[in-house]
């Protein structure tokens, strides 16, 4: 919620001293509201007014960076409560908790496995983001493990320790690597604030109640810490959803600066399913960072896939490359199915073709990511466009028959497409689910 020029004017000294370069405080206020000048131009602002004006110039949820280089994680800067209102911008960072009381060999092995948690899906690479090292023994062991992990991964690190002395050594080793320090509480506030300031690293602020988190973040900011991540303590899933929802609502709708930071949730369950399901819940409900223990690839894949789904832009559907896709052991007699390059259309057709176990070619026509009916209505999926595509692909040199299967919903274009393309048009089922039985019964005269 932005302040109006008049709101801002009320916060200014109203002395019309002109040191800002404007004739009056009111003129300056109007420029501030337009974000045309910075508030630092006014040398006479009191602390409170300055804080308020600074807050209004910032995004409601601060962008926080963890790690560095290509694998750095950026979370925050979210604008909405529901993805259909706009979109969720910064996919939840997924991190893995690594205990420091296992052997060096085990640590290297786990780090290696975490590094390998990369998956290709619908043309995107899905990756895990963070490794969180948790101290169980003395500072010396912790620092040693930090060294080992840091030398073996490019992922961002989270330092989970209550020991300021050990943390200091670890931060010294990780200079320039921008790890996240976990966590500042009411008890250790000054020591941890000092560390975060000295090493310019982001800091997790943790308390059990929202009100306490809010107070803590205000105190930390007063002590000069700029980059915060806020953590909700151990609670039931529903209570955590409530807290995460409140944090998002208050930051966005009430411009509450003290909660305007990405949130972090530690799931930490031994049962793999329970952990993954709980983590999945927080992906849907506003978590900026989730730390879990289990690293089984198949489970992590499911979590990262959910993140991909939830963070897809609802206005800009995922597209696939428009081209010919041979599915299974295709021959020159295999059927040729036409669909759009909207990922969901293509992958639905793909799923059914695979299920039918009948090798087929799928051609995705470039419809700019629109689904069959939408593209047809928008004239992106026309006889002309389809003909152009099949000619470019050279379908007549790939198959020996002259038949194309089109989606049932665009049956109306059969005649025109037949004339234009020179192919016999077979109208397929309206829904992809009908493809297996359609393909089993598909017969055409060989030409």
């Amino acid at each position: 919620m932005g302040l109006s020029g008049l709101d801002i004017y009320k916060l200014l000294p109203k002395t019309n001293c002109r040191e800002c370069g404007f004739a009056t405080c009111l003129a300056f206020a109007m420029q501030l509201a337009k974000k045309a000048v910075g508030i630092d131009k006014c040398p006479y602002l009191d602390f409170e007014a300055k804080a308020k004006l600074e807050a209004q110039a910032q995004p409601p949820i601060k962008l926080i960076t963890i790690g560095q280089g290509e694998t750095r994680l950026e979370v925050g800067n979210e604008n909405v409560l529901f993805r259909h209102e706009e979109k969720f911008y910064r996919p939840t960072g997924i991190g893995f908790i690594l205990e420091d009381n296992i052997t060096d060999a085990e640590i290297k092995d786990r780090v290696e496995k975490i590094n390998g948690l990369k998956f290709e899906r619908i043309g995107q690479t899905l990756e895990a983001n963070l490794i969180a090292i948790r101290q169980n023994k003395d500072a010396k062991r912790f620092v040693n493990v930090v060294k080992i992990v840091s030398a073996n991964t490019s992922l961002g690190l989270v330092l989970m320790s209550d020991d300021a002395q050990g943390l200091k050594c670890a931060l010294e080793i990780l200079k320039g690597k921008n790890p996240l320090v976990y966590h500042a509480t009411k008890e250790n506030l000054s020591g941890f604030a000092q560390l975060a300031k000295e090493y310019k690293v982001p800091l997790v602020a943790q308390a059990d109640e929202l009100e306490k988190i809010s107070e803590l973040s205000v105190d930390l900011v007063k002590q000069g810490v700029k980059d915060l991540v806020i953590e909700i303590g151990k609670k039931s899933i529903s209570e955590r959803i409530w807290d995460l929802t409140q944090i998002r609502r208050l930051a966005l709708k009430k411009s509450n600066r003290s909660l305007g930071y990405p949130s972090l949730v530690v799931v930490d369950k031994n049962d793999l399913y329970e952990e993954i399901q709980e983590a999945a819940t927080y992906i849907s409900k506003y978590a900026g960072i989730i730390l879990i223990k289990n690293i089984e690839a198949w489970a992590v894949l499911s979590l990262l896939t959910l993140r991909q789904n939830i963070y897809t832009d609802p206005q800009k559907p995922l597209q696939i490359e428009p081209r010919l896709y041979p599915i299974g052991q295709v021959t020159d007699k295999s059927p040729v199915l036409i669909t759009t390059n909207f990922s969901l259309s293509y992958y639905t057709v793909l799923g059914e073709v695979e299920a039918s176990k009948i090798p087929s070619y799928i051609i995705s026509v470039d419809t700019e990511g629109m689904s069959v009916l939408t593209a047809w209505a928008a004239e992106k999926f026309t006889p002309h466009k389809i003909t152009e595509t099949i000619n470019k692909i050279g379908v007549k040199d790939i198959v020996s028959h002259k038949h194309l299967v089109i989606p049932g919903y665009v049956a109306v274009m059969s005649g025109e497409l037949q004339d234009e393309s020179g192919f016999e048009i077979i109208v397929g089922p309206k829904e992809a689910a009908g493809l297996p039985s359609f393909l089993k019964n598909l017969q055409y005269e060989q030409i």
Binding site: R83, E239, W242, T245, Y273, Q277, E278, S302
Partner: protein, 320 residues
């Protein structure tokens, strides 16, 4: 300064649909289940009551399924060849609280069983098992218009949930369901407006909105899940804001979609399919799903426990 929380004041609520009638209510079910009734978004107990937890029903077929992966089929063994045996196995071995039977065998492409054969099967099921029943047609519109009224009549008074009615084929099914005291599944293709329109059409025939369960058509995790997720969120927000025409509980065919995913069919990784089904359900519960139709007993077990975790901890805090 005390932190002021931001609490939404919802004016609408989701209708409660009861599935299964006991002898007290003119049926023969051992118990009935209730879905819906929410006065708040999922898990936000502090904003309004969520009186009924999401329910999970096991899905079975009247014929041996031809497209279920081995990982699921092998758990049921030979009983997948006999719907009655299969139903009993779900109840006895896997503690199924309700069953969803799909009469695929009546489909012209999958056996073309007569309506009379299917009626006999449903009668037998109702006689031998006591759990509430969800009954789905074959998926072929013409056949279902013959089949479902006959099924509806055979199950008269049992308060089954019968489906699916779609925008261009709802009249025959709705009439049967209305006459025989059941509830209906209204299916729309990932579209809030069509869902709303269909609910209005069906209620115009005299079937009250309190007897409609919406099938928003879901995609599995990784296969368009987010479309259904947002459609459900939008419909639920509208309903809580007072739009009665979308204030019906959601049914989601989780098993059917999840086990079609490529990731669920990796023979070497049987657990990947289980988590695919469990996570599809988990995400949809957060979008407002009320009734989940599932296939793998282990996925059902994990999702049921998740639901317990969601519901128990906060009950005492929910406003009266």
């Amino acid at each position: 300064m005390a932190l002021q929380l931001m609490t939404e004041k919802w004016t609408g609520e989701i209708s409660v649909v009861t599935i299964g009638a006991t002898s007290k209510n003119g049926g023969t079910r051992s118990y009935s289940i209730k879905i819906g009734g929410e006065k708040s978004l999922p898990c936000l107990f502090k904003e309004g009551t969520l009186p009924n937890k999401p329910q999970v029903a096991f899905e079975i077929f009247d014929v041996t399924p031809n497209d279920w992966p081995n990982e699921v089929i092998k758990l049921y063994g030979k009983s997948v060849n006999d719907p009655l045996e299969w139903a009993q196995m779900c109840i006895q071995d896997f503690k199924a609280q309700s069953l969803c039977i799909r009469l695929l065998g009546a489909h012209p492409d999958f056996g073309n069983k007569s309506a009379e054969e299917e009626v006999q099967l449903i009668k037998k099921l109702l006689k031998e098992i006591g759990v509430p029943l969800i009954i789905l047609g074959s998926g072929d519109d013409a056949k279902d218009n013959l089949l479902l009224p006959a099924i509806s009549e055979a199950a008269k008074g049992e308060r089954c949930l019968i489906g699916s009615a779609v925008q261009d084929n709802y009249k025959t099914i709705s009439a049967g369901v209305l006459a025989d005291g059941h509830s209906i599944i209204a299916e729309s293709p990932i579209d809030v407006n069509i869902a709303k329109q269909l609910n209005i059409l069906i209620s115009d025939m005299g079937l009250p909105l309190e007897r409609i369960v919406m099938n928003p058509t879901i995609g599995a995790l990784g296969y368009g899940l987010e479309y259904a997720y947002s459609i459900m969120e939008r419909a639920r927000l509208a309903a809580l804001s007072g739009d009665k025409t979308v204030a019906c509980p959601f049914i989601c065919f989780v098993g059917q979609e999840a086990w079609r995913a490529k990731e669920s069919k990796v023979e070497a990784l049987p657990e990947q399919g289980i988590i695919w089904e469990a996570l599809t359900a988990t995400a949809l519960i957060q979008a407002g799903a009320d009734l989940l139709i599932m296939r793998h007993p282990k996925a059902v077990e994990k999702v049921s426990r998740y639901i317990e975790n969601l519901m128990t901890n906060d009950k005492i805090l929910s406003p009266k």
